[in-house]
Each structure stands twice: as structure tokens, then as C-alpha cells.
Chain length 299, copies 2
């Protein structure tokens, strides 16, 4: 099954739109990546959801998401509970438990380590420098393209490979109780290795919209749109989808996920309730599409 339209953003409430089977048929989406609005105890907070009712509010949405996700698809939920009255809230923990009851498998919790976190000082805690990226699936056998997110091997390797001893060419079995064996020659001349489940993105690689092909070092972005923190959705889009797959963000915000999908030749679908965000997303996506078209014309 396919969604009614691809490369489109809808303005509206995702809890209603997702339930529309003509727009979102069963098993039609390859990957869902989203950062929903965080809960907030304060009333009237901007698009805020009360933390006491967060789980209750989210479950009907995740129930639609599991319906429209393909069997080998993934759902990445980027979230972090705020402190409230000096304590961490528990709605994320409760949400994981409830989503499992809906049929989701909780495969993994990736840690997004944000080195330049929001400044501040409090008597009872330090600055919060990490967020959860919860990985849910419908089946235990899901699509994962690990080669797409390989990282350069550490500096140790270069020296190591220069001086290979005899033992490096045979399988070495560790003596302790672990069954770890190794054969260093397998890694000879290896350039890239698989990453781990703590995500650290370098700021220099950040992309500036309107200046998509350049890096932050280039200051020409000043005349263009705001900075896009594209790294996070990009990483998961590369890891859990392939070209032409359908990538959904039900809380699109200013369009980050859609832009990341577009840049990697995936089909985007976005939903956003707030008018300002929706317009900004529209503008941003449009700008990237223009740039990409211009670039492809050059070829």
C-alpha cells in the first residue's frame, strides 16, 4: 500500500489526519521520525500537552502509527522528559510500557549526546545534555541499513596496521570467561567502522538551509534561513530507510525531517498543526527543492 500522496505536508491535527485511511492506508510508511511537543505542567503553554495526560494523549496517535507503518518499518521517537518540581517526569517511561501493550517492540534507546546544551545552573542538577531516541518496530525483523551510517575508524588503527604481528593473523581467543575472539587482520586497511548507540554530531557538519551543500564554516548562510539541526533525522533516515521510501513526521515543526528526507531522496510526508510552523516548513522545503532542482540541472 502507498499513501495517497507523497512529498506533501498537511496542516492539521495528526491525531485526526492519521486516522484517515484514504490518506494513510495500512502498512504504507517505511519510517517515522518525530520529536513531539514535550509535556509541560504550565497551562496555556505553547502547543503544550499536560504531562499528566501525555500518555493518554499520545497513545491514539501511536496506535495509528503502528497501523500505517510497513512491517519492516521503524518508528524513531525523539523525546526527553523535563524536570518538574525538581524531579524528572515519568511520562516517557509510562509511554514505552503502554506502547508495548499496543504491539510495538521497543528495540533500542539511542542516546543523543548534545555537547553544546542549553546553558544554565541549578542547585539540584547539571545541564541536560542528552535526549532519548526511542526505536520502536512492528516486527523483530526490520530493515536496517547499517553500512549507511559507518564512521571513520579511530586513529589507533593507522599505527596498528603498520605493525602487524604474527598473532594478529590468527584468531585469538580471549582467556577470560568472555568468548571474545579477534583476528586483527580482518580489519587491515579498514577505513570505516560501525557506530554505537550514543549519537554525537559535530557542529561543523551542520547544514544551513539555502546553503545546503556547504558547511557551517561558510558564513554565507547568514542571508538564508535559520540553522537546521538536520543531523539527527538524517542519521535515522539513512539507517532505517532507502531511496524513495516514505518518511513521515507527524509533528513536523519547521520541516527538518522533511528536508532531511528530501536531501536523501526519500519521499516525505509531514503533518503540522500550528500555522506559523506549517508556513515555515512549506517555505523551507520549497527552498530546498529549488536548490536540488538547480543542482540536478547542472548535471
Amino acid at each position: 500500500m502507498k499513501p495517497k500522496e507523497l512529498n506533501i505536508i498537511y496542516k492539521g491535527d495528526c491525531s485526526i489526519l492519521l486516522a484517515d485511511k484514504s490518506l494513510f492506508p495500512d502498512k504504507s510508511i517505511n519510517l517515522i521520525v518525530t520529536s513531539p511537543p514535550y509535556a509541560d505542567k504550565r497551562k496555556n503553554s505553547y502547543q503544550g500537552v499536560n504531562s499528566d495526560k501525555y500518555v493518554e494523549w499520545f497513545l491514539p496517535i501511536s496506535d495509528q502509527l503502528i497501523r500505517i507503518l510497513k512491517d519492516n518499518g521503524s518508528f524513531i521517537l525523539n523525546i526527553k522528559e523535563h524536570p518538574s518540581n525538581g524531579e524528572r517526569e515519568t511520562y516517557v517511561l509510562e509511554l514505552i510500557l503502554e506502547m508495548k501493550k499496543q504491539g510495538w517492540f521497543w528495540i533500542e534507546e539511542y542516546c543523543w549526546y548534545k555537547k553544546n546544551s542549553f546553558p544554565g545552573k541549578w542547585p539540584n542538577r547539571f545541564r541536560d545534555s542528552w535526549e532519548r531516541c526511542l526505536h520502536f518496530t512492528k516486527k523483530k525483523d526490520f530493515a536496517m541499513y547499517q553500512d549507511a551510517v559507518k564512521v571513520p575508524i579511530g586513529d589507533w588503527a593507522e599505527k596498528r596496521f603498520k605493525s602487524m604481528s604474527e598473532n594478529d593473523f590468527i584468531r585469538h581467543i580471549s582467556k577470560n570467561n568472555t568468548h571474545l575472539g579477534r583476528n586483527v587482520s580482518n580489519w587491515l586497511n579498514k577505513k570505516k567502522v560501525y557506530p554505537h548507540n550514543v549519537l554525537v554530531f559535530e557542529e561543523e557538519h551542520r547544514l544551513y538551509l539555502g546553503n545546503v551543500v556547504e558547511t557551517a564554516a561558510d558564513t554565507s548562510h547568514k542571508n538564508h534561513s535559520a540553522i537546521f539541526p538536520l543531523e539527527l533525522p538524517t542519521w535515522f533516515i539513512r539507517l532505517f530507510s532507502k531511496e524513495n521510501d516514505a518518511v513521515l513526521d507527524p509533528f513536523l515543526g519547521s520541516g527538518t525531517t522533511a528536508v532531511a528526507a528530501l536531501l536523501h531522496k526519500r519521499k516525505y510526508i509531514g503533518i503540522e498543526l500550528k500555522t506559523e510552523y506549517f508556513s515555515e516548513a512549506q517555505k523551507n522545503i520549497c527552498e530546498v527543492e529549488k536548490i536540488m532542482k538547480k543542482n540536478s540541472n547542472k548535471i
Copy 2:
């Protein structure tokens, strides 16, 4: 109130010993730091607790811990759920929720980012490089000595926490280890800032305990004790206790927490069930006590 004895380790089951009010009176402990055995689906696993019964097993222990903790004390629980049948287990999430019902405040979740995690490759996940350090308290107003864990200003990318600093023990080691001596002197001269809630430790300061003692013949660590990863308990001991405070580890293992406490002039109390671990802890603590006594005699 004070514990019956300080600077002592008990051999036995902490779920029984902690309930003994003569050993552990109400509100007698300043800080609890522990890494309990992680749950394991396999039967007959070494000191393993079945994951289905983990919460049930732990709650009576945490119930005693909240009794014996001082009102301004902290409890640091280092734990990480394993995957089982391809999914992350949920017992840690459930434990947090249940401990809150016991009266604990869940203040914070620190992320311990372990850069050299165990190698391996699987189709559904990457290497696990982080563990949870859950911070619980009895009151929202608790003792926190933030200045004790400031880190040097530096390149964000390379900033890490050095667990140990200017004390006699380090100076002693420095004699035997030129690398360490150099690093410590660099560290002492830098300006310091407050850290955040992602912990990344330098691993240079791991100690081969047997190597600390000056022996005429053999200085090879192979014939001595195991490596001590002291950084983690040390960081929390500095942050949540002051000199002469009572620091408890109900799952002492090979004595890491006690040694860290001792080195920072806190009073340690440890409990360990397994004979091998208990003996090793005893030996390790004894060795460090000897060194510290020798050093103080020199002054």
C-alpha cells in the same frame, strides 16, 4: 544516627543485612552508590536475577535503603537493561515507577557514556555504549557539592571528567607512572566549569591496585589485582558527599565503591554476598589502607 560500624564490609545478603536496625539505624547513611547485578533471562546464571522478577526482588532492598538514608542523602543506581529476544527489557523503567511509589524522588538520570564499549555486530542494533545512573533522593532538598566535580575548560569535543585529583594517593602513583603524573599536572592548572549530565571519563586513571604497592621483585600487574574502574563511584562520591560522610554500597563486588570512598576520606560500608568477591574486596581495601597509612606517616 550513625551506622553501628564504619569502614567495614559485611559478607551476606543485603536484603537481610540492611533490615537489621542495629547495623543500619534510620537516617544513618549519607550516600548510596551501587551497581546491582543486572537481570538475566538465563537460569542458573552467575548471581543472576530473572528479569521477570527483578523489580519484585529489588523493591524490598530499596525500601530499606530509603529507611537508612539521611534526609539530605542521595542514592545512585547504576544499571542498564540488556536486550532479550531482540528487545530491550523494561524492568528498569518499571523499577523507577515503583520506587517512586515507595517515596523516592527520581531527580535525574545521568548518562554514563562508555567510549570503549564491547565490540560486536548484529543485524538489529549497534554496540551499547551507555549506562543509566539514576539519581534518587528522599527529599527535594538534598546535599550536592557541585564545585567538587568541576572540569577543566577545553575543547568540548575532548572534554572528559578526571575522577581523581590532587591527593596523596595520586602523587604516589605518579611516581610509578610518568604518563599519569603529566596528566595530573596539566589538569591542575586549568580553569574549571560545571559539567553536565553526560559522564565521559578519562580511562588513564584506572589503577592496577597491586601495582600501587612498591614491591622489590615484580611490578607486573598480571600478578596482582584486577583493574579498578574507580571513576564512576568517585564522581558521585565527590558530588553527593563530603569528608567523613558514610558511603554505602550494598552490592560491593570487588570493592570499587569502598576504595573510592576511602581515597576521598569518606567512611565506607559495603555488603557482598559472594565469597570470591568479598575476599577480593577485603584484599583491595586493605591494600589501599596500607598505602594511605604509609603516605600519612610520611607527612
